[in-house]
Symmetry: C3
Subunit: 374 residues, 3 copies
């Protein structure tokens, strides 16, 4: 069976499938007046280059192992072993996502803009080594686990972070519409009196290594995160939004800040018969009703988003960021995608100042992506 | 045909098979009184993440290429080309193991504890770039080759080590028992007046980067190694042991030390019908008689080991290490494995001293592993 | 279908094929009298270890993703997405070769010596991230594109090189002979007043990290390259040659040098029925008429080459290098290869001086390679 690449299956429960994705990006971010950085202006990059495998083993076992080599280095992404004693329950051990929120749990192959909303990057959402359980029953999905840290960070022998992460989703069908509401909580102990966190994010696209919104490293003992998420899909239309709070317990008498990020998004397919995929508590693949190669033009979608991030609280001034974004997404076939998006990004009390000391300004960002996956 | 992953075969001698393994570890090592290291206590890590391929090419040729990305970097493991003019003879060129000894030649997928006996790590057993021949006839296996160094170390242009390595195995069936006796010799010229070697090993498990037994770097011109090995498998029972001597030729008038490592091990399957695999001069895969998924519980094995390492000789004081270890190994199916092991590790004149200057102490280590391979 | 590895194909335009190559090298380069470098003398290395995949997606899309891990690191080689609106036209986006010249466009699996002619390395021919189009009609091939830089170099945020590259090939069949003539032009803007280029090359083989011919870093604003190429294949015989000029626009009043490299080569198969492969404007795979494994001995070829490089102009004295080379190539089967080559390398005003200050000397180099690909 072909799912981008061939999935080989045996008669007794075996399966094996290669996995991969290529995302090629180019883009440009304007500089605020009186601000100069070599990363601004035109840039191009290999955004992601995943290669991996996944498979099933008789007895209810499975695995996925995938790495990203885009930076000419090895970054381990999903790398885990699963055991499913029943259809409803899956236990997972390894490097995987701690159930952050709707957009973070949605594959980067299927998100609405080239980059996810600012909160996902700013609050350090990443895959971590852990042990988790997932339970689904009708429209409900419950997920929870205990995690240490990203496998790369665990190479540091002194690393002893650990966290508890859980998420609940209620996703009923309403007529022919798909509803989704959910929430997640995250508690992490840095387990070390002398540790720190840093929240920051690039301006709308990924090519420049510039972060106008940036708390800098701030001393920390614990992180507590809360997220709310909602979405609705009806035929060509979808709307979705999230709100996340991230509280940092700082040592001693230092005040504990709570940062906030959220977004609201709506999108519409312009081509007849197309809709966003949804499965298991996250958006899924778009399968064009009339793909290129079968006499059609593929699926064309327009998305609008307002994205807000507030990194200012309790004496920490990392900036506020408002993004007004629009994306045009062309999906010629199930496994190919071209994206063009534009964002107007407004900063208030940003981390980076212009030559005249100004920290409140706006930049414009435009990005394109060509994508294939299998 | 499924061997964890599908092996694709052509009608005329072609074959191709993906390869991979995932080992997830967690564990804890206690600290001696008055000793502190951030690596001790609880730790977790991705122990191994191999991905690779192997295949056969008509005309008697073959290849294997596999890398370990567990450390978020590329470590080349088996990467070689083979040519077999007949069933009995195989020539191998590339990065492969210089026929160290029974446990080192046994895949880490099939060893009795999460880590091999101390001597294998301490004496620097590793894969190296070389050219070798292997000959088998009835119960005899003869292996020998000439090697330079690990392919990663060869990136250093000044590296000009070379070695001769050979091993002989006699492995007759005695009734329905499998006997194994063997020996190996290793001679290595560091080829440089100003070079050094370092012998050291972690305490029983791999998560902490702490070595209580450690010679430090000692000046050296040549290494000479000798190993003896024996094993016996009878139904659910196995016993095995090895003894290795490593002599270092040091420059000028400095005395030449000989270090020693050895172990003795016995194990028993608690589940009916299970036995250790053996093939080609090494232990092989355990295939449970009643695997999970076919109404069974898999194979459960208990192993006991005494493991000794002596890094004290001729003025070098790297410590003596005694490990009393016990392991519980659950093999639900042919390609999955869970291990729990405990070791009491006793040091005499260790390399690391406690706050009070004590170098003779004991630590306790416990480790767990979840493993899948294909 | 087997092409070294199995190519899996679906009924509707899907295909998927693993890719890989292993090249194991050993060799020796003599030192000029009174010159010492730890890289000279015997050396061994894993020259290339590629692993990757390629596939086709219904609708005219395709991809290739391959990395070289030989240096125990990730080097991205071909990593691109293609779209073919018709048989004659292919659009390519990603990391690929900017149509340098005949030998550089020929896979390293199929070149006549273990290393390509000096000009290919010296002038920095490499894969780069870009967008290109290729058009073929009868004996004509036209290729052109716009490129930024190698994906690894793009990790440097300040990188803003870009180039235009084009190549034309006319390759008619003349009787049963294959003719090839072509030319290419390359224009690159370094886009930065303070940038530099460096042209240099190893002596004939790759094991030592020594470059006797080396311009050092020279300040530069733009590069302009021109190449001419010709080849002829008739049964067991082939002849080929190229000439490339590389002009560097240097800042301000500094004189602009033009460097030159070229080679002439002839080869002959000693085994009956064998010939060099040719396809799409480049040499292709040798498929022995009587391979090992089917009662034959494979293909044996002898190649002779004169290779010239001149890195001296306009005040830059990087040395002149003349190589007189001979190669013996044994191709047991379509996907295996053994090479032995010898080169006498003569330097004039080389970059590296002997103890007595001499910069004009000669060295001898011999190299062997074992190769498998799939």
């Amino acid at each position: 069976e072909w799912k981008g690449a061939p999935e080989l299956t045996g008669s007794d429960g075996w399966s094996f499938k290669p996995r991969g994705r290529i995302q090629l990006d180019a883009g440009s971010v304007s500089a605020p007046d009186g601000f100069s950085d070599s990363g601004l202006g035109f840039g191009s990059e290999l955004r992601r280059a995943f290669i991996g495998v996944e498979g099933e083993i008789p007895g209810g076992f499975g695995y996925r192992a995938e790495v990203d080599v885009a930076a000419s280095a090895v970054e381990i992404t999903d790398l885990y072993i699963t055991y499913s004693p029943s259809d409803a329950v899956t236990l997972t051990a390894g490097n995987h996502k701690p159930f952050w929120g709707l957009e973070e749990m949605t594959s980067d192959l299927f998100v609405s803009f080239t980059e996810r909303a600012a909160l996902n990057t700013a609050f350090g959402y990443e895959r971590r080594l852990g042990l988790s359980a997932s339970y689904s029953a009708g429209p409900f999905v419950a997920q929870g686990g205990v995690f240490t840290d990203n496998v790369a960070d665990l190479n540091d022998d002194g690393n002893n972070f650990w966290s508890l992460d859980g998420r609940l989703v209620f996703a009923p069908k309403i007529g022919d519409g798909q509803m989704h509401v959910g929430g997640s909580v995250h508690w992490r102990d840095l387990n070390d009196g002398a540790d720190s966190v840093r929240y920051r994010v690039r301006p709308f696209i990924h090519t420049p290594d510039v972060r106008f919104a940036d708390t800098g490293a701030i001393s920390a003992r614990r992180e507590t995160g809360y997220g709310l998420e909602a979405a609705y899909i009806q035929g060509p239309f979808h709307a979705t939004g999230e709100a996340h709070w991230q509280r940092v317990d700082r040592p001693g008498a230092i005040a504990d800040p709570t940062f906030f990020g959220g977004y609201a998004e709506a999108g519409m397919f312009l081509t007849r018969g197309d809709t966003r995929g949804y499965r298991g508590g996250a958006f899924d693949r778009v399968k064009p009703a009339n793909p290129v190669g079968e006499g059609g033009f593929g699926a064309v979608q327009v998305n609008l988003r307002y994205d807000f991030l507030d990194l200012i609280d309790a004496g920490v001034v990392g900036g506020k960021q408002d993004i007004y974004g629009v994306a045009l997404v062309w999906t010629p076939t199930d496994f190919t995608r071209l994206m063009l998006n534009y964002g107007h990004v407004v900063y208030d009390r940003a981390a980076l100042a212009t030559a005249s000391g100004d920290r409140s300004y706006a930049v414009d960002a435009v990005g394109v992506r060509a994508q294939v996956d299998f």
